[in-house]
Amino acid sequence: MAAVPKSLRFLCPNGHLGFAPLKTNSFYLGVQSRPDFILADSGSNDIGPIPLGSDVSTSPKEWQYHDLEHMLLAARKLGVPMIVGSAGDTGTNSRVDLFVEMIQDIARNHHIPKFRVGYFYSEVNPDYLRRKMEQGERVAGLDGRPDLTLEELEATDRIVAVAGIHPYIRLLDLGAEVIIGGRSSDSVIFAAPAIRAGFPEGLAYYLGKVLECASFNAEPYMGKESVIGEITHEDVKVTAMHPDQRCTVASVAGHAMYERSNPFYEHVLGGTLDMSRCRYEQWDERTTRVTGPVFRASPEWWVKLEGSGKVGERYVGIVGIRDPYIIANIDQVIAWAREQVRERFGDSGYELHYQLYGKNGVMGNLEPSRHTPHELGVVVYGIAPSAQMAEEVCLIGTRQMFYARLPEVKGTAGGVAFALDEVMRASPAYRWTINHTVRIDDPLELFPTFLTEAGV
């Protein structure tokens, strides 16, 4: 292996690549400074369980292609590796294949000379977990969840495991010049090449942690702008590329706690990044320097699993209410409509949800306000095994609000205002069935790696 370099510089143009397009000006400012790697995370489970369960992206293909095209052209021109992790929002096998195909299309369209593309998968066959569970192994619940049961496993449509640095390092060792990763911890996409090059693990994982959302670590708030992280053997320095953005002590430290329940610890496959002794200093106007992160290796390999299961087909109806008497008695209106659904379909085998915008439509039971609104917007969700039944559940649940029998209502020609006659088909309903960890023997066990080519 080559001698350990003094420093490496990582350009990150986007967090959750594809969800919104990268901004090109700051990206090319970054490219001009000749980084050693161009990398981005493309995944998120913020988007809920539907994309994983139904194996689709929530990001439009055009935006994914846009970002991959800019990154690939720049990376090939500079002759530096390009790495994208958690392909296509979820990191399922089909999303990895989609991104690999896009890389091949882009290379062909731009007549880029041949190069090696490495990729790996993250999907887990439910039978693999079933066998482990039948042998008495725990699939341990995270965030207060109980351990996984066979029933919940049965209810699951698709599972991904969250990779560590290992498949990325393996693909770099195999000579991959572009890597498309399955589901991965955000930080490992960046940490892998730094650790492979001989930099301390604590700094390497911290580098990934601070870069994974690109310009979210800078101020003022501007998403989708590029940032550069530089790792040395003593520190990480992070610099905003947009001329109007700065990486400040506050913005960089603030990012450590973004989307995390605890700002001091970050768990990845193989250990925990401890940021409790991080020191932050303003290095120059747009750069913050960080020292002191420590990586603690764990004695066993516990891999995180994400799983989503289908609840049913779903239709959505919308009505509005203006009569203060009806608003005050909205619970009775809903009870009436529910009863009509019950008369048609019985007590179970479907779900009917009412979301009351104006009352607690955003916060549900967390809403502290008891303010009475002058109008109410109601979104009605009908969920059932078939689309036909879901439509009827939703339609009864929506339309029967019109006929609700309130004793003192003046408006006897209809208790709600319809914005539409019909109810609308929505995405199927899914739920997160798995947020667990399981012990594996080898950090590559669930992440098979492959090498292919692109270019002409």
């Binding site: 913020d46 369980p49 001091f264 994400e306 967390l366 969700y381």
Partner: protein
Amino acid sequence: MANFKPLSQIAKIIRSKNAGVDKITFDIIFPDQASYQLVRRSGILNRALIANLYNIPESRISDFVEFEPALAIKFTIYREKPSGSPGDTDIFGSQQYAPLLDLQIPVD
């Protein structure tokens, strides 16, 4: 008589966001040491207040952290149901911070 100011006039950032699929985390970030220390020392923001404000038992608060490097006070709650499940009202958890804006903080 103490003077009071709403938290929204003291903090620079007040936000909420998913922390994984089962939790929502809240960040209150201050512009300087003085305002951070003012709110921290007031003792107003604590687990009991959050439980009361959101009408949840304290057991649903998984973390409460004072994070000085970022001049931030941060807490995390368990969701009623996982993000995006039928009946969930905020898939990203991004609009759950509003009740914090008007918290009255004694300023002298």
